[in-house]
Symmetry: C2
Subunit: 756 residues, 2 copies
């Protein structure tokens, strides 16, 4: 069977499977799960049919509490029902989840797992939300990649139909939910081959129905509640085998094999990491790499977290294991250890007590926290964990990925350690929020993923300032599936692009460039002038890393070809022209093909304009001849001025410059309390054009000041004496207000704060 | 220092301490925590001042979600703030709890711990709600009795002020929250002696304040969130010592000693139970009892559950322990074991790994569930647990208190096992909801608790049918503090009263009577007639248990003395007259004194009417001469008729007859699904007077049928042919409706459903 490959993010892939298997979808948007609901909503609006040929009813409620209530109601009425959520949204569903589970109701909630707000809000990924729901009686199934997320969406649905236990299927928010990857798509036929229609008849039989009334949801008293609560036990006991059966059937239908616990690594491993979610992929790849170097390491990838099958877990643990690190992507302050750690200790203890463990003595079991709110979890950190385990007395509890100089929980790691495959191309693009860079890169991934045999991965990092922010696109391409759920690191990229010249003045973009990499810069300066406009640090990197350096004035090309200020097609073309990912001609043809697809319905003129931009790109793309020495007279400026307060300079400044990653724990307030009015120190300088006050035309209505959302335009009425020491270029006119006779009036503009 | 003793329930005692230490109280009522909020509201309305002489602002919000938000807001503004909640109410507070904890904010939430609704709703007590909040970062402090609940309310407040970690202080819903007990009251001076005012200044300093603005609650990204989350670690590390310090200071101030873990039992115990909440008291008393019989048992009473202090826990565990049963009052389906079990396994494993455990080999650690939704947890069950531990291979996980004939988790126990002290008097009263029995019993407890040296305890069991339900009051009195947080059992009561004669026809009231007990019956039949109106079972018990049997026609006394149908004062007087709890004259004087207190402001006439009722009671109270043999021609009728469907007869019937306790798991639906329309089988027969249709007066307006809330009155218009076989007494008249010429009209009354 030939597989249909598709380049897609996990949210869309999961939503698609969920949609096909649902009659009712009750939603409420919360980042990063929102697009699951949005896709379902769009499909329903477009009349896309589910597996049974009906269009699901997609309803948006007033909150996640309402969505969970709607799900509960629809389920009781016998409809196949799903929802999507994350974080606080999931917390609001908890009361209904207890009911749905207690009533043994088949459903799957798909969760793009996200941080629950504590000392601060954070929209990024970790398991604190799903762990807050682990006691509800839902089964919890974890996915570690875009491919698995799609596959588990189906497996969870099959297992809930058979077991009657509701499932919470989760995957790491942003890291997996928003990663674009080339995966094998599940076909409608494959879904059909997995679904047992009898189970759906049984659901209809159990539904509330006025024609054969019964009560579900009584009020019970001390005499009877406990017995009723135990009456469902055997349904839970059956779940692990049912999930494994669904996985086995899935393997038959699709060829992709999963187990409720998957072990990867040396059969005689002495050091083992237990982990779930995207971190498992990183851990597995690192263990394989280390084993090639003679280490004895392994990884247990926990897929079915609840119900936790002790016997199945013990079965995959190698008998040789001496030390185990259980990695939790959550923090439960005040607990002895995080949830997965507690489970693993209890599971092994039970195995030893019953003699079912593959060894006779308790291994050392330590617990680690990692990746809170999408904190990077890299092979370097995995290696640090294995190294810690190899010590005589590993830390009992630790953190991986940070520097904890306060309570000293952290493991040191070597940020330069890498397990990169040389066959994979890594490309990093710096763009300005809403300049089209991210969209163009998604398009490039689709071209490479769907038009070639290459695998592709894209991950897009934003700085949360939305429009006008810095976006960093991390793209990987290569002949093998890409199992690297972390950012491209320093010295890792064979291609680096900077789509906004102002970034060069303050951002260390070239740290990503590997020796010999290609560097593409959108530059107002041509190949002959550019060198002297680069800061010393950039010149040094270009020379020392022997980069191939290209410039293009994309703004000029855009203006000339009628594209306005949209540089995305131009920079994408330049990327293909010089990156050697695809043969140049083939790439150009593909870009034009996708222009046709995207703009075709807007008319031939638009298509031709874009074609012209592509052609002009090639004509205006110049390689820069690299001088032998650093000659620049200026350095990169700090992200905030030196006169800013210490905290702003050292902490916020580092975060603005994308160096926050390496700030130690001591840099941070203990309770999330920050100084206010710090934005004044952050001068972004991103506007290409700024407003200019024309005193001759000004009628002093002051509407311009009201209109600017960034408070860039300020007006002032003041006593003329203040003008005494004003510089000559300072503009002022007589104030026209009766209330202020004899005063002066000025409107000023703060160019550095303007977003253009 | 002489202690002020007070007879009070935990809700009031806790609310009082919380109120004195608060400036803002944000509430939303949920059973069984409601009265905490109601008391605070009433005190504020009455202008009662807190420790600092101001009246707290008590605000009722639109839901517990709103209450938690209001608490968060008030705390940020620097106000000392509290709230009270339970169950789903607590679930709605979880999102704010993460924030409050993450921001290191001092507050105490007082929780009357209650079941979270699953297969069914239940308003009774267990720890499923607080366990659903254990990951929020709140400290969790458990109370095991009314006395401790009051004391921990203060200790938690002191500890939160010093540690900055918010506290969730909990005690068992209903079992503790609504138990009336005689306790040592904390005085205002004692509270003042505990509070460090400097901590309050610090709170004010940390408050949001426009005069020195800062930001608390930022949005953070992957670079920084993790480090910020670890920045508060040392505050958590400090909590256990801070709580112990507060407990030590509390001991100095009040003389009452607590530890974060308290061990009770043999110093060389081999079998140990770990438990928290009211069950700990039962376990401790049973261990002491068993140890006197030569057993080596012990109990670890967990008071500070979060942060869990491994070292302190290991320190109280006897080195001799071989087997441990960890008892959880919650169920987390799909987990390896419940939360406290997982913690204990991890704690001991850590101790063994580090060599800090008092023993060298892992003891057998089993996990048990008990007491879900106030399911009884008695010394008999505790003994069954110790007996299980004494076996070579104790069950790995079990339930205590039920018969699980499906998944066979349960331990067998001997319901007749008892550790009753002979010095304690036990009295059981059957009343009809809103007949005043519960109120009178609370008054009796106050009289005995506050006017004598006796300790007193009252617990009131309702059947959830509210008005018209059966209430069972369980009262204990004695010279020693009463540590028995469970109902009075079969053969346990030295006094049994039945305040409603109809109960005798179907309820097994006399099973509670110990041999030689006193039995008081409110009877329409005098001492000479009553015997033949008792069912055979009652006669048998009276004869075999050699009961002293008294009757009084309380309805007649009430009617004659102008009390209407209120029999409470009369039955209370009769109780004191024949129970020998207090000397008769003293008791009568106390009743009159309390009548004066209660009714004094309604005028002398009301007081005199009540005095007359008291005097007439004594004149109309008769001892019944007990015949030698059972002579009755009838048996107790089943709670539902024999022709009812099997499930109604065997399951619902048993529950109606207060025998639901012993129904095995197999009797119950797996998913909370019940047949509908079963109330028709439950004939309560509680009305003393019923409506009678008078055809002569009837104008066929049918308003009577509309008015009856129990649908007892039905009217019918019908063809005269239906009257063919009607019995002679069947009343009918011509229908007066133009639409139905020639028809007949009847109004019928269903006497058995009437509530009177
Ligand atoms: S940010 Fe600049 S362009 Fe935008 S409104 Fe303000 S002054 Fe005008
Ligand atoms: S229950 Fe009886 S007394 Fe009450 S309204 Fe109905 S018929 Fe009247």
């Amino acid at each position: 069977m030939t597989k249909e490959m598709i380049t897609i993010d996990a949210n869309e892939a999961v939503s698609r499977v969920a949609y096909f298997l649902s009659e009712v979808v009750a939603i409420y948007p919360i980042t990063p799960s929102s697009t699951m609901g949005e896709h379902a909503d769009a499909w329903a609006a477009a009349g896309v049919k589910n597996l049974w040929g009906t269009v699901p009813s997609v309803v948006e409620m007033q909150s996640e509490g309402g969505a969970a209530g709607a799900v509960h109601g629809a389920l009781q009425a016998g409809a196949l029902t799903t929802t999507f959520t994350a974080s606080q949204g999931l917390l609001l569903m908890i009361p209904n989840m207890y009911k749905i589970a207690g009533e043994l109701t088949s459903t799957v909630f798909h969760v793009a797992a996200r941080t629950v707000a504590a000392h601060a809000l954070a929209i990024y990924g970790d398991h604190s939300d799903v762990m807050a729901a682990r006691q509800t009686g839902f089964a919890l199934l974890a996915s570690d990649s875009v491919q698995t997320a799609q596959d588990n969406a189906l497996i969870a649905n099959i297992a809930t139909l058979e077991s009657r236990i509701p499932f919470l299927h989760f995957f790491d928010g942003f890291r997996t939910s928003s990663e674009v990857a080339k995966i094998e798509q599940i076909s409608m036929d494959e879904i059909r081959a997995m679904v047992d229609e009898n189970k759906i008849y049984e659901i209809r039989e159990r539904a509330l129905n006025p024609e054969r009334p019964f009560i579900r949801g009584t009020s019970q008293n001390p005499d009877a509640y406990f017995q009723g609560r135990e009456a469902g036990n055997k349904y839970y006991e059956a779940v692990p085998a049912i999930v494994q059966k669904a996985m086995d059937q899935f393997a038959k239908v699709t060829g992709r094999t999963y187990h409720i616990f998957d072990y990867v690594g040396a059969a005689d491993a002495t050091e083992v990491i237990v982990i779930m979610g995207s971190g498992a992929e990183t851990a597995e790849e690192t263990a394989k790499y280390l084993n090639k170097q003679g280490r004895k390491t392994g990884v247990v990838n926990v897929r079915l977290y609840r119900p936790f099958d002790v016997a199945a877990f013990l079965k995959v643990l190698p008998a040789s294991v001496k030390k185990i690190a259980v990695m939790d992507r959550t923090k439960e302050s005040g607990s002895i250890g995080e949830p997965l750690f507690l489970d693993v200790v209890a599971a092994i203890n039970a195995g030893l007590a019953k003699g079912t463990a593959p060894f006779k003595a308790m291994p050392v079991v330590t617990g680690g926290r990692y990746g809170l709110s999408s904190k990077e979890f890299t092979p370097a950190m995995v290696k640090a964990i294995f190294d810690e385990l190899a010590k005589d007395a590993p830390k009992e509890h630790f953190t991986a990925g940070i520097i904890d100089d306060v309570t000293h929980t952290s493991l040191e790691f070597d940020p330069m350690f890498s397990i990169n495959s040389t066959e994979t191309k890594r490309c990093v693009f710096f763009g300005l929020g809403s300049d089209g860079t991210v969209g163009a890169n998604k398009n490039s991934i689709k071209i490479i993923g769907e038009e070639t045999n290459n695998y592709a991965q894209g991950y897009f990092y934003y700085d949360s300032k939305k429009s006008g922010s810095v976006t960093i696109s991390h793209l990987r391409f290569g002949p093998n599936p890409i199992r690297a759920p972390y950012l491209i690191g320093p010295n890792d990229a064979s291609f680096v692009a900077c789509h906004n010249f102002s970034f060069m003045e303050w951002l260390d973009i070239l740290k990503y460039a590997a020796p010999g990499a290609v560097f593409l810069l959108n530059s107002l300066y041509g190949p002959d002038e550019i060198w002297d406009h680069l800061p010393r640090e950039a010149q040094k990197d270009i020379i020392e890393k022997k980069l191939k350096f290209y410039v293009i004035d994309a703004y000029e090309v855009a203006a000339k070809t009628g594209m306005g200020s949209r540089v995305n097609t131009i920079m994408q073309t330049a990327f293909f022209a010089i990156s050697n990912i695809l043969p140049r001609d083939e790439a150009i043809a593909q870009i034009k093909h996708s222009i046709e697809k995207t703009y075709g319905k807007r008319g031939e003129a638009v298509v031709q304009k874009n074609y012209a931009a592509v052609d002009q790109t090639l004509a205006n793309l110049y390689e820069v001849k690299i001088p032998a020495a650093v000659t620049s007279s200026f350095s990169r400026r700090p992200a905030v001025p030196a006169e800013a307060p210490e905290f702003v300079r050292d902490v916020l400044g580092a975060m603005i410059a994308f160096e926050g990653e390496s700030l130690p724990v001591s840099a941070f307030p203990v309770d999330g309390t920050y100084p206010s009015a710090t934005t004044k120190w952050e001068k972004r300088n991103i506007a290409l054009e700024i407003p200019v006050w024309e005193p001759d035309l000004c009628i002093q209505c002051a509407k311009c000041a009201t209109v600017c959302p960034h408070a860039v335009i300020r007006e002032k009425v003041y006593d003329p004496s203040y003008l005494k020491d004003a510089p000559e270029t300072f503009k002022s006119i007589d104030a026209k207000f009766n209330e202020f006779p004899g005063n002066k009036f000025t409107i000023q503009v703060a160019p550095e704060d303007c977003t253009g």
